[in-house]
């Protein structure tokens, strides 16, 4: 503000200077034109002329006198008087010109004119109106004698005046030049001042804009962390709520407060506390998407708006990520600091509809998280909290499940439709939870994938299935084959599942073709999978494409990849009846598979009609409750024992 005032002073000063210079230039130019056309100059230029006229008038007077001497009889006294008067008037003319004295300075002007005056005084009497007597010869001759030296002097003066005029003209020219130079200089100066004026005005305007921006920055952003402040946060939350309302989306609001931040301030100092807040703000930003909002409400309180949520699960993993990133040590001005945070979570529209209620909910939930021991997140809704807790426990239990041998494989027979015999089965994973009983893959596989436990679990499944198959091959059916479900995560290049499988096969002494792995269509999108598919085939393991028809289902992929089996998803089978579109799809798939030499397994067969239709269309294998539910290994063995060579469909159940 102080500088603003100073700039204003400057502007006024420059404006005044501009005005002054402008007036100066105008004045000078006006002055010039005056100078160039003024009477002064006129008089000056006339001085030489006047002197010359005086000189010639003296000559004429002289001539008139001579004529009178030569011919005294025709002497015209009127004419002589006129010539005398003219000479007289010429003397006055020279003297009365104000420029004469100046121009003829330094010449003999003054003494010559004194002599002329004397001459006029001496001879005045002869030429006055009253005495018109003709003059004596002697008088005339005396006048002529007096006149002679004057004429010579006037000649000199005339020459001198011409000379002086030249000098004066030159002088005036250089004066004009000087004036022009001065006014040009002034104009240039004025131009520079004008430029300076505009420069300052423009700079001032820019500064004003910048300070206005600064103000809006101050009004909307937290200066310490550069995060949006409470005001902007409330704005954004309102906006996001309106947007979510329009698109019928869900959004989450997280309220985060650092734990025991006071201790950091107390032990390391307020400045270091500030550094920690800055770094924490940065880390928070890294945990969310660009479109999400992280704000600092004040103190050690932060809020996060997560919009466009597909599912509420996602929020838990983000919260987990936040807790984890904050648990990393903070490098603070050479010292190390540790901090944790408590997070409260609430959802729109589930928990509340407006900004204030949402904020209150999240705050409350955060408070609960603090109460329960800090370094955790807590949901506002009980059911949500319940689900989160259940999941948390599940994750913990899953970590121990392998060690506690809580996993078990069930087997679902795969029937050869043409003969009704069973030579294959699909291994299905079951988790026998000590408290909750049997948990199905649908519930725990996503968690296993999320936590990375899927690799170890997958390897265990493979090994267990291989071991079982080997036993059954030896005891009951030498060509028996078990298919195993895999997660795409297991087949990523960085996991060495393939190596693990090879060792399993070797250790149980089983050929690869005793195992088929079921993969999902999404894997085929991954170009690098081709190489691993070749490696799998090299081991002799067969590959079955699971859930065909539900994913990306491009026939062209089938041609590109070497697939052995194709499993038609049970949703197609469920709708099978004469004339249905799904029938046409199944038929098309079967025709195509036959052409490509791929065998087809239909899943979810529940009725005889479905079985007959599929059989009629040439489907190779079928799976479903019509034949059997998945059963434990022991139950499966009973089937083998009852019908040593082939398990008959009818006997299952």
């Amino acid at each position: 503000m102080q500088s603003n005032k100073r700039v204003t002073y400057w502007l006024i000063l420059i404006s005044a200077a501009l005005l002054l210079v402008f007036t100066g230039v105008l004045y000078l130019q006006f002055h010039h034109s005056r100078l160039l056309s003024s009477t002064v100059q006129y008089s000056e230029s006339n001085v030489s002329w006047n002197v010359f006229q005086l000189q010639s008038e003296a000559l004429r007077f002289n001539n008139a006198l001579y004529t009178a001497v030569l011919d005294p009889s025709s002497m015209d006294m009127d004419y002589l008087s006129l010539r005398y008067d003219l000479f007289y008037s010429r003397v006055d003319t020279v003297r009365q010109n104000p420029a004469t004295e100046q121009l003829l300075e330094g010449t003999d002007y003054a003494p010559i004119f004194q002599r002329i005056d004397a001459f006029l005084r001496n001879n005045e009497g002869y030429f006055t109106q009253d005495s018109q007597q003709p003059l004596d010869q002697a008088v005339i001759e005396s006048i002529l004698k007096q006149l002679e030296p004057l004429q010579a002097s006037l000649n000199d003066l005339s020459l001198a005046s011409v000379h002086q005029s030249g000098i004066h003209a030159e002088h005036r020219a250089s004066e004009v030049q000087r004036q022009i130079a001065i006014s040009t200089g002034l104009i240039v100066f004025q131009l520079l001042l004008t430029l300076l004026f505009f420069y300052i005005v423009i700079r001032q305007i820019k500064q004003l804009q910048a300070s206005r921006e600064d103000l809006s920055q101050l009004a909307n952003y937290d200066p310490l962390t550069s995060l949006p402040n409470r005001r902007l946060f409330l704005d954004r939350l309102g906006q996001e709520i309106r947007k979510a309302h329009r698109t019928k989306d869900r959004l989450a609001l997280l309220f985060l407060d650092l734990d025991n931040f006071k201790d950091i301030n107390d032990t390391l100092g307020h400045e270091v506390g500030d550094l920690l807040l800055q770094e924490a703000a940065r880390r928070l930003g890294e945990c969310v998407r660009e479109s999400d909002t992280v704000a600092r409400l004040g103190g050690d309180e932060f809020t996060i708006i997560l919009s466009d949520l597909d599912d509420t699960e996602h929020v838990a993993s983000i919260s987990q990520a936040i807790l984890k990133t904050l648990s990393d040590p903070f490098e603070l001005d050479g010292r190390e600091g540790f901090v944790s945070a408590s997070i409260g979570i609430t959802f729109y529209p589930d928990d509340a509809n407006d900004v204030n209620a949402l904020l209150k909910n999240a705050d409350q939930a955060m408070y609960v998280a603090k109460e329960q021991g800090r370094n955790r997140f807590h949901y506002f809704t009980a059911s949500m909290q319940q689900a989160a807790q259940t999941k948390m426990h599940l994750v913990n239990d899953l970590r121990n499940a392998l060690a506690n041998e809580e996993f078990q494989l069930y087997y679902h027979p795969i029937i050869e439709l043409a003969t009704g015999t069973v030579h294959k089965a699909e291994a299905l994973l079951r988790w026998k939870h000590p408290l909750r009983g049997i948990i199905y893959p649908l519930e725990f596989i996503p968690i296993a994938e999320e936590t990375g436990l899927i690799i170890d679990i997958g390897n265990w499944v493979f090994h267990e299935a291989a071991r079982q198959t080997q036993r059954w091959r030896q005891q009951y059916q030498p060509a028996f084959q078990v298919s195993i479900n895999t997660s795409p995560l297991q087949l990523r290049s960085e996991t060495n599942s393939l190596e693990h499988w090879r060792r399993s096969l070797e250790s149980v002494g089983l050929p690869g073709n005793a195992i088929a792995i079921e993969i999902t269509e999404s894997l085929l999108m991954d170009a690098s999978f081709t190489k691993r598919l070749v490696a799998i085939h090299d081991m002799g393991i067969e590959v079955s494409l699971d859930d065909f028809g539900t994913g990306y289902s491009s026939m062209s992929y089938l041609k590109k990849f070497d697939i052995d089996y194709l499993k038609i998803h049970k949703s197609f089978v469920a709708n099978l009846q004469q004339g249905a579109s799904d029938l046409a799809i199944c038929e098309a798939v079967l025709v195509m598979a036959q052409k490509l030499g791929i065998m087809v397994i239909a899943e979810g067969i529940e009725t005889n009609e479905q079985q007959k239709l599929l059989q009629a269309m040439g489907c190779d294998f079928g799976q479903g409750y019509l034949f059997s539910h998945p059963v434990s290994a022991a139950a499966f063995e009973k089937l083998f024992e009852a019908h040593t060579l082939s398990v008959q469909v009818q006997d299952l159940g």
């Binding site: 004429r60 008067d85 010109n97």
Partner: protein, 168 residues
């Protein structure tokens, strides 16, 4: 047709006007101080139309006070208007050549006599001017009241010690 007839009438009038008339009533100057010659229709002597001081004083008098480059103070000048003198002699021309006693000459466009109140001053501050005082006749423009005349061109045309005017 009408326009044509009117032209003939104007031409006729011009013809009459152009006829030089040695008017009987024209007085001869006793002691001439100004002689007009050239394209004039009135004459009163062989050299043209001569005026003496009395004849000039009989014409309508006009006066003004003005500053001039020749006198340090403003002065009152009076005398007949140049255009009245020209009318008097029936001047029909474009240029006046004014001649001074010292044979100084200057050309004055005849228009100037109507555009400005150009006078042939016979009096300065109500007194006759002697030859010594740039008299007896001084052609002068009303410099102060007509700023257009404040320039070298008009200063040059302001001739003093006037003795004759020739009209072309």
């Amino acid at each position: 047709m009408f326009a044509f007839r009117r032209m003939i009438i104007s031409l006729g009038l011009l013809f009459f006007a152009a006829l030089p008339s040695h008017a009987e009533d024209a007085v001869r100057a006793k002691k001439p101080i100004l002689t007009l010659s050239g394209a004039i229709s009135q004459t009163n002597s062989d050299s043209g139309y001569e005026f003496d001081m009395a004849m000039l004083e009989q014409l309508p008098q006009y006066s003004f006070t003005t500053s001039t480059p020749w006198f340090p103070e403003p002065h009152k000048f009076s005398g007949p208007l140049m255009r009245d003198i020209l009318t008097k002699v029936g001047a029909q021309g474009e240029t006046l050549t004014a001649i001074a006693l010292n044979d100084y000459k200057v050309s004055i466009p005849m228009d100037n006599s109507t555009r400005f109140n150009l006078i042939v001053a016979t009096h300065k501050d109500d007194k006759r001017m002697s030859v010594r005082e740039k008299g007896p006749l001084f052609v002068i423009y009303p410099f102060d009241s007509d700023s257009e005349t404040q320039s070298q061109v008009y200063y040059d045309q302001s001739i003093w010690q006037l003795k004759a005017i020739h009209i072309d």
